[in-house]
Amino acid sequence: MKNHQPYTPREIMTIMAAREIKNGDIVFSGTGISMLAAMAAKNINAPDSVIFFETGAIDSLLEELPFAVADPRIMYWAAANSKLTDAFATMQNPITGKKVIAILGAAQIDMYGNLNTTCIGDYSSPDIRFSGSGGGCDVASFVPRCVAFMQHEKRKFVKKLDYLTSPGQLKGNNTRQAAGLRPGGVSVVVTNLGLMRFDKDSGKMYLDKFYPDITPEKILENTGFPMDVSRATLAVPPTETELKILREHCDPQRLILG
């Protein structure tokens, strides 16, 4: 894909995700681009947001970008270094859990925002095996707002997941709550083409924003299920200030921006 914009697809994705984070949010972060989005938010639009890891570190200083959620870089100058049972309890606890926004990735997503990070093919004898849930299933079960980062491709936006690792709206129409889950799961999908959200009633994914140079038609071509695009509007592109802070403060070595 040719890119005539003054930013890369990774940069617009990071900024779009960062804008979802509000001041005061507790941001559950993984590594890579999700970490960068959390750092961008903290430096741009949500200075009082707190970065939090499933391993138990909270509000780490992050002088260097960590490469794993168990990287010793997240243990330095944290408010507390605790443990897994504490970290997940913080999310399951509705008082603190309500303030959490999570950033997740996946190999596949369906129209209800359910995620697969386990395998491609039959679970008992998979063609491709991935790392597995990690904390993904727990986060998608507990946290009211989750951002999913995805490359927008037909093989990733599928009608039926090969394995449902992390719950979104399950089959829509309140099936999530009926199954025993609290409201939550993936609420926004950020891709290299646009931004998707979920209909309050049906639980189905719809196109909310498309990026400059991208059309809703192109997004549909790259989506493996029908999607409502009637509400879609053009996204506000990353501003010069946003890009400057992202490039100069968050990832000056371009470890993640590439």
């Binding site: 794993a68 168990a70 243990m75 605790s82 049972t85 399951q92 849930s133 507990f142 719950p167 609290r182």
Partner: protein, 325 residues
């Protein structure tokens, strides 16, 4: 003075004594941090097979054990090793080739399972996982479960909240306890009795230790009891849980130990590249595992240059500005 509380022994002896073929084992740490690697390599050298491994998120140790054919069954939430291997390579191959049986859980579920084991409970409840394939798809069939008394009959269970809708939950998902035969962890400081002081995140090490019938602790520093007793607030594991203590400096290498050394991203990358090719992998194992007598000789081959490169800065606890692949 008796020394019946002196549990210090050579690592080789501890592994011989406590890790047997078909043992149910858990190892501490998380992905590329505080994996008990000296013990892992010793298990491989002793050719212990048919292990049943429990972990939440593991990487460095898990993939070496699978690569060496030591594991036949695995209960796990995540197999990844940071940037070098977002999915552990030998793990993925072994699953795709049906060489090991895997049962998938989430990190919270596995941590709660260790916690239930540590509390002597049959299970603990959570609100995670309803409606997912983690609940409905089983890696271990009913017949495998029935035939092995050390494996619980059901993977997970769902129960109506017996207190009505109390605390806003109509149902709970129950995760069965784990009580491993042996847990091995690597810590910064331990004394001869086995009291441990862990610096940085403890992950689920404390629950894993307390759930386990036997425990081997390997440590960076073997310190006097008096040193640990001066600051008991910093000790997470009292000696009553521990069976053996082994002094193993750099015992988590190539994974990290906060305050002591970083992960060696070059080594992890080298491992990941070798792991993709059977011939290269055999060469790797022959050189670094089978070709050495113990962890000390392994570190000699690794070389002082790498060890200096990963040395932790005292201010931050990691190696500042280390070149990371």
């Amino acid at each position: 003075m008796t020394n019946h509380l002196n549990k210090v022994m050579p690592l080789k002896q501890a592994i011989e004594q406590y890790v047997k073929n078909s043992s149910h084992i858990s190892i501490g740490g998380f992905t590329l941090n505080r994996n008990p690697m000296a013990a892992v390599y010793e298990i491989i050298r002793q050719d212990i097979k048919d292990l049943h491994l429990y972990a939440h998120s593991n990487g460095t140790g898990l993939d070496e054990l699978i690569g060496a054919g030591c594991i036949s069954k695995l209960e796990i939430a995540y197999a990844g090793n940071g940037k070098a291997a977002p999915t552990c390579i030998r793990f993925a191959r072994a699953v795709q080739n049906n060489e090991i049986l895997v049962e998938d859980y989430s990190n919270y579920m596995m941590s709660l399972r260790f916690m239930a084991g540590s509390m002597g409970l049959p299970f603990l409840p959570t609100l995670s996982g309803f409606g997912t394939d983690i609940l409905t798809k089983w890696g271990f069939s009913k017949s495998i479960r029935k035939s092995d008394p050390k494996i619980v009959d059901e993977k997970l269970a769902v129960m109506d909240n017996p207190f009505g809708d109390w605390a806003g939950a109509s149902k709970v998902l129950l995760v069965p306890a784990i009580n491993p035969d042996i847990t091995i962890i690597h810590v910064q400081k331990a004394d001869a009795m086995g009291t441990c002081s862990i610096q940085g995140l403890t992950f689920a090490d404390i629950e894993q230790v307390k759930a386990s019938k036997n425990v081997i602790v390997t440590c960076e520093e073997l310190v006097d009891k008096e040193e640990l007793r001066q600051n008991p607030d910093l000790n997470q594991i009292p000696f009553i849980h521990v069976s053996a203590v082994c002094h193993a400096p750099l015992g988590a290498y190539p994974s990290a130990v906060f305050g002591h050394y970083d992960y060696d991203s070059q080594y992890l990358r080298k491992f990941a590249i070798a792991a993709k090719n059977p011939d290269e992998f055999k060469k790797y194992q022959d050189k670094y595992i089978y070709g050495v007598k113990n962890h000390e000789s392994f570190l000699k081959i690794v070389g002082q240059e790498r060890i200096d490169a990963i040395k932790a800065d005292p201010r931050t606890g990691y190696s500042v500005n280390m070149k990371r692949d």
